[in-house]
Symmetry: C2
Subunit: 222 residues, 2 copies
């Protein structure tokens, strides 16, 4: 499973979110593909793009909300590439990594942003369906800078899993992923924080969840 992360951000050097994502991606086999850097003049190389799509299984659009959709560069990519890519994309997955400056809870009826993120993302969901792709629940990162260190760690793990875990992972998949991560490399550690404690904590919680579920199932059977 190999992910292509199509990033659109016109001022990426100023974005803490995107720096965070780029570092987190080092622990995976995903490909980082930043459109504004690659095509500053907007002349998209169609053949190259189709080749990239062909070589990956999960396509991810990663962007900040600019007026409730992707920045213009990603729209240009869509308008240029998608009509030629139905063969390359059929049967694959489309994910969205979205960053917002406004808290996620404001995206609801009565919230400051009025509509849900799912409603704003309808065009992308429909694109996935039209191209016979599977649409993944979006990964949303809101107000990154206000989050605690622990929360940031959680979000880093969730991001790596979004790029690498199979669709709709079970708890067992997530635990397997952790164990593999711990064994295979020390990328997570190299980012600058020992994650031992976090992992032990996570695995213990997971174990508790499994024990609870086993108990409940036993109850139901009796």
């Amino acid at each position: 499973m190999k992910s292509l992360v199509i990033v659109s951000h016109p001022a990426i050097d100023t974005s803490l979110n995107q720096q965070f994502f780029k570092e987190a991606m080092n622990g995976t086999n995903a490909t980082w593909h930043h459109l504004e850097e690659m095509y500053p003049d907007g002349q998209i190389d169609l053949a190259l793009e189709l080749q990239l799509l062909k070589e990956h299984d999960r396509i991810i659009f990663q962007f900040p909300f600019y007026w409730y959709s992707a920045p213009a560069h990603l729209k240009l990519w869509q308008d240029t590439v998608l009509e030629h890519a139905s063969l390359e994309l059929r049967g694959k997955e489309l994910g969205i990594v979205l960053t917002t400056g406004v808290a996620e809870k404001e995206y609801q009826s009565g919230g400051k942003e009025e509509y849900t993120i799912s409603e704003f993302l309808r065009p992308y969901q429909r694109i996935a369906n039209k191209l016979m792709m599977s649409f993944l629940p979006p990964y949303v990162m809101s107000q990154f800078m206000y989050q605690s260190k622990e929360k940031k760690w959680e979000r880093l793990i969730a991001y790596q899993q979004y790029l690498t875990l199979k669709e709709k992972p079970t708890l067992a998949n997530r635990i397997d992923w952790f164990i593999a991560q711990m064994r295979a490399n020390d990328t997570l550690k190299s980012i600058g924080e020992p994650m031992q404690e976090y992992v032990i904590d996570y695995l213990e919680k997971a174990k508790e969840d499994i024990e609870d579920l086993t108990f409940t199932l036993r109850e139901l059977k009796e």
Copy 2:
């Protein structure tokens, strides 16, 4: 009431819809502003755009659905202009003139396009609300080439009214508009079809509607 029609279409010369709209617009005092023609290299003149917004009361985004939203050029305009335009736009109206190649009835649950046009337009609706503008119900033109001559006439009138009539027009407003059109100029006629018959028909229907309503009101009072 003066409308600014911000058109986005990368291949406008091939578009029957846009030709139709451009001719229909001649009968009004609206301003046609085609982004791809004005800014082929995407270098948008912010000062000019703000001046245009200032000089108009109703702002209309006119475009074909490209992957369920506007073409990249309009998105670029949004990303460039809107953050600087809150003063120019506050209290004004935002309309959408949308063309689709797929029949309008396919935009619903269970239809080929799955979601309603209103759902796909949420980002624009939210933009209007955020900028303290009034969001008009969209004018949707689907499968223009398949429509009868009569239907095309109806759509032409509806388009001209979308550009010129006040928000949520009453029947009386629409009749007044017709009479003014007939008296003031012969633009409609000049497009190549005598519309006398259509107008008489329309006014007669309107008269009937008014009589029906008057009758119903009288019944309710008794």
